[in-house]
C-alpha cells in the first residue's frame, strides 16, 4: 500500500511562482521607467541651462545605460523563475531570446561607455594644447 502525502501541491507552487514572477518583472519595469524618467528630467534641466556641458551629458547617458542593464537583469530573473515550474519549448525560446538581448545590450553599452570615456580623456588632453595656440598673437 502506497501512502502519499502532498506537502506542497503543484498548484500552490505554480501560484507562488506566478506572484514572484509578477513582482520581479514589475520591479524591473519600474527600474527602467524610473531610470528613464530621471534621465529625462536631467536632460531637460541641462538643456534649459543651454551651455556646452558635454561632461554632464555623458554622465546622464551612462546612468541611463546602467538603469537599463539593471532592469534587464530583473526581467531575466523573472523569466528564469517562469521556467522553473513548467518549462515549455516556447518559454525556453523566449528566455534564450531575452538572454541574448541582455547580453548584446550589456556588450554594446560597455563598449559605448569605454568609447565615451576615451572621448572625454582625449578632450581633456587636447584642451591644454589648444589654449596656447589660441592665445598666441597672430
Amino acid at each position: 500500500m502506497i501512502v502519499s502525502v502532498e506537502l506542497l501541491p503543484e498548484s500552490t507552487l505554480r501560484d507562488a511562482i506566478g506572484v514572484l514572477v509578477r513582482l520581479v518583472e514589475a520591479a524591473g519595469a519600474l527600474i527602467i521607467f524610473l531610470g528613464a524618467a530621471w534621465a529625462f528630467v536631467q536632460f531637460v534641466k541641462a538643456g534649459l541651462r543651454g551651455r556646452d556641458r558635454v561632461a554632464g551629458f555623458n554622465r546622464i547617458r551612462l546612468s541611463l545605460g546602467r538603469f537599463l542593464v539593471l532592469g534587464l537583469e530583473f526581467q531575466l530573473a523573472g523569466d528564469v523563475l517562469r521556467t522553473a515550474v513548467a518549462p515549455s519549448f516556447t518559454e525556453i525560446g523566449q528566455l534564450a531570446a531575452i538572454a541574448a538581448i541582455r547580453t548584446a545590450l550589456n556588450y554594446f553599452l560597455g563598449r559605448e561607455i569605454a568609447q565615451e570615456r576615451a572621448e572625454i580623456a582625449r578632450g581633456e588632453e587636447a584642451a591644454p594644447l589648444e589654449r596656447p595656440a589660441q592665445g598666441t598673437p597672430s
Binding site: 524591473g28 531610470g35 528613464a36 534621465a39 531637460v44 551629458f57 547617458r61 541611463l64 531575452i98 554594446f108
Partner: protein, 82 residues
C-alpha cells in the same frame, strides 16, 4: 499590467524625443542626440518585454537594439571618413 506597461512605453518614447532635443541643445551634435533618442526607444522596447512577453515584443526590442547599433556604427563611419 500590460496596459500600464504600454502606456509607460509610449510615455518613454515621448520623453525620448524631448530629451533628444535637449541633448542636441547641449552638445550641438546630431549623433549624440540620436543616441539619446535610441536609448529611450530601447527602454520603451524593454518595458514591452515585461509582463507576458510575446514574440512580437521580443522581436521589437531586438530590432530596436540592432537598428541602434546599425545607425551608431553608420554615423561613426561617416564621421571617420574625410
Amino acid at each position: 499590467m500590460n496596459a500600464w506597461l504600454q502606456a509607460a512605453a509610449v510615455l518613454l518614447t515621448g520623453a525620448g524625443l524631448v530629451s533628444a532635443a535637449a541633448a542636441y541643445r547641449i552638445t550641438r551634435e546630431a549623433r549624440r542626440a540620436l543616441g539619446v533618442l535610441l536609448d529611450f526607444l530601447t527602454a520603451a522596447g524593454l518595458l514591452r518585454l515585461a509582463g507576458d512577453p510575446a514574440w512580437d515584443g521580443i522581436l521589437t526590442a531586438a530590432a530596436v537594439i540592432a537598428l541602434r547599433r546599425l545607425i551608431g556604427s553608420g554615423l561613426a563611419l561617416s564621421r571617420a571618413a574625410p
